[in-house]
Symmetry: C4
Subunit: 255 residues, 4 copies
Amino acid sequence: MAPSSRTDADALVTSDNPEHPANLIPSLCAKFWTLGWVTGTGGGCSIREGDLVYLAPSGVQKELMRHTDIYVLSLCAQGDALQKQQQRTYLRAPPCYKPSQCTPLFLAAFTRREAGCCIHTHSQWAVLVTLLLETQGPGRDKVFEINNIEQIKGFGRGMHKIGNLGYHDTLRIPVIENTPHEEDLTEYLEAAMEAYPDTYAVLVRRHGVYVWGDNVHKAKTMCESLDYLFQLAVEMKKLGLPWISEVTRIGPDRA
Amino acid sequence: MAPSSRTDADALVTSDNPEHPANLIPSLCAKFWTLGWVTGTGGGCSIREGDLVYLAPSGVQKELMRHTDIYVLSLCAQGDALQKQQQRTYLRAPPCYKPSQCTPLFLAAFTRREAGCCIHTHSQWAVLVTLLLETQGPGRDKVFEINNIEQIKGFGRGMHKIGNLGYHDTLRIPVIENTPHEEDLTEYLEAAMEAYPDTYAVLVRRHGVYVWGDNVHKAKTMCESLDYLFQLAVEMKKLGLPWISEVTRIGPDRA
Amino acid sequence: MAPSSRTDADALVTSDNPEHPANLIPSLCAKFWTLGWVTGTGGGCSIREGDLVYLAPSGVQKELMRHTDIYVLSLCAQGDALQKQQQRTYLRAPPCYKPSQCTPLFLAAFTRREAGCCIHTHSQWAVLVTLLLETQGPGRDKVFEINNIEQIKGFGRGMHKIGNLGYHDTLRIPVIENTPHEEDLTEYLEAAMEAYPDTYAVLVRRHGVYVWGDNVHKAKTMCESLDYLFQLAVEMKKLGLPWISEVTRIGPDRA
Amino acid sequence: MAPSSRTDADALVTSDNPEHPANLIPSLCAKFWTLGWVTGTGGGCSIREGDLVYLAPSGVQKELMRHTDIYVLSLCAQGDALQKQQQRTYLRAPPCYKPSQCTPLFLAAFTRREAGCCIHTHSQWAVLVTLLLETQGPGRDKVFEINNIEQIKGFGRGMHKIGNLGYHDTLRIPVIENTPHEEDLTEYLEAAMEAYPDTYAVLVRRHGVYVWGDNVHKAKTMCESLDYLFQLAVEMKKLGLPWISEVTRIGPDRA
């Protein structure tokens, strides 16, 4: 169903409500810019509401984005996978930009994980963690693992599971290799989602991280917690502290 | 004494005065978010005015909090300890949130130290200091100590004591072990308060720090000074500089 | 063509449009100040529109600049090089400032690279990268090289070339030695532009970096991406990670 | 000359002009707070206009200061030193605060260096530089020295001297030992001023730095440049790079 006119299409991104996705994506991206997550037009953010997906365009300065820059895509969630892909159409496109190369990766989170929001950052801490893992050699460089840090409790146990990870649980974030063209990451991202059915995030080596959640609140707070853990992990490495520990002490005395 | 209606309860968090606790907690938490103290809904802040305790709820994005999100609890400071605990009731609860797991820890500061404000941060510097202490081995990992740094003068000598620490005094902050459930920290926090009767803060290993003070001004400025010292201590460790020194030089010449 | 009066000259820097160069330079410089790029009056920014060049003055606090502080210079793009230089006149000068010593360096970007905007930062990451290169010894200290990092895709292939660098391409930024007087850098900057015809940036040892682009958008986003890479490179050095790697893995398995 | 009433005294700190010292000190201190210079009520800022000195009070949260918090002191610049000190009176005092312990140190800059503004920071970079110097042992720990960094050009050559330091000049900032009471630093600060007649700053070991200038613009920009150099120096130390170098290369080739 394509809108009958440009006016109808623009109505999809026009609202007085600051919580409307077309308003929220620019305000979130401006915040992410101050955190160093979307430097130099890198990274991005997408929100799904029912069948509609709202997307930042390619190549925009993230702290300057406006609601008029937003793409709206219909997921066309009926039919089989191939049909759906063929039917997907942009209900609204901004006049001056191209679609983001991240689009198929965001869609993977929406269709395979029922996510309501997906965030992609180029955070230096994420990149450094993947570089540090790379030095561990084959077999040990495909997953970031950390345990016994309170902030781990910021992550859900997984789709359709109740509650969050516990303090002693090990958080595992799979790492996929980067590809020259961002859309080519999609199959590897989807494979990582299958291999790690409970993960809410996938690291991309020498590139950044994709984080999603059931809604904006969950995607954003998990992305913040993860960036916190990546930064902490880099500082721990500088100080010679291991990411995984056997510590299970409870209480003031270990005697 | 429960309020007779929702309207009465909402009056407890409604004020034009920016210094009212229900307005101050959101503005403080927004500031703390920019400092990296309350990332991803972690950490929090509570203010006591007489018998009333104002609390941020669980799971809220700290930089987006509003006065309508605030809980109000009556301390019921009459009667013995058990009676008091049983009588404590929420005079006002926000419609969409659960109470914070930090509540009993904040209450420990209010009832045992007569504090007017308690701040809980997940600052990475606090976490790193507890990790560095952990490498010192049993017996040396239960207290953070630093001396001969001017910022130490930002701390009071202790409850009911006059004046602040001096430049040459050693600041000591006890460290307790983390527990899977945050409310289970309470007994260990209280034990640390007894063991260190003059402290205004307790570190929680791999988790963060609790800092309190007679009022908002003192709790906030001590929390800032402490975070400054934690960050300095981590940088000192990277540069091979010890936290404790014998330096007692005064004046320009040591001859 | 000199303006007939001060009023005419001031009209060159007076506009309600926030995208007018006289408004944009102050807002960009205020943003750069928060990034640590133009600390203590260091660094600067210039925009060219057709024959007109808009310049920040010397010695101004960059986060406090106003449109009335802006110089306007005519490029006089007709005639041979000598004629042009002699004919260049300030169409508008602010009452209280002197022209920036960076002016001839900005002009080099405008005349030799057809740039629309040039940014000069004193970023500490840029300075540290040049210091780290210096330790490599003669022959290896004249160019910064990094590859296999996604953010490299933020750079254009070069003037009159289509598209951006790829993920596996090596980004090369030439380094010139600093001179006591900033304007004396011009000939070396121009020599580096000739030696590296595709570069959009030149590092100045122990000083900072010059970055330009076809327009403000491209200059600013390339400058951000470059600063990101400089910071990443410094952190990589601290962690013992090399800037150049042979990694060409694509996909999840290297077997 | 004491003001005849509280109203007259308050007029000294009441102005619509944002450049009035009573408005400027709060806005500067709020900016310094974001830079980490005045954490937890530490540090401060004072401005002199003719015979009047405007001072921030002791113990105030620097990002929350208001014009009504400002002290105004008369320098009484006539008569001999002892007379002057005895005659100095507060023309205006805020109702809720005590004078800052930094006051005699600020006065030293105003009376001995004819400064128009003096800034005191607790910057961690300043503290770390003094700690790193301390490890050099007696005789080498009393002055911070750095050369061949462009930002050095942000410093004046000295009182009554024309122009700024050059790129190859060595910037020298004397270090004095900290004292338990801040006012006791005064004699050592004054001795350092005599020993280094051209300096615009004095480091205080394990404490911070005092920086002054002929006016607010010069004091602030020199303080920014100095903090930049302190941070750079700490990073250089982490990377094994020396603060003093013999490099005198000019131009692209050293052959």
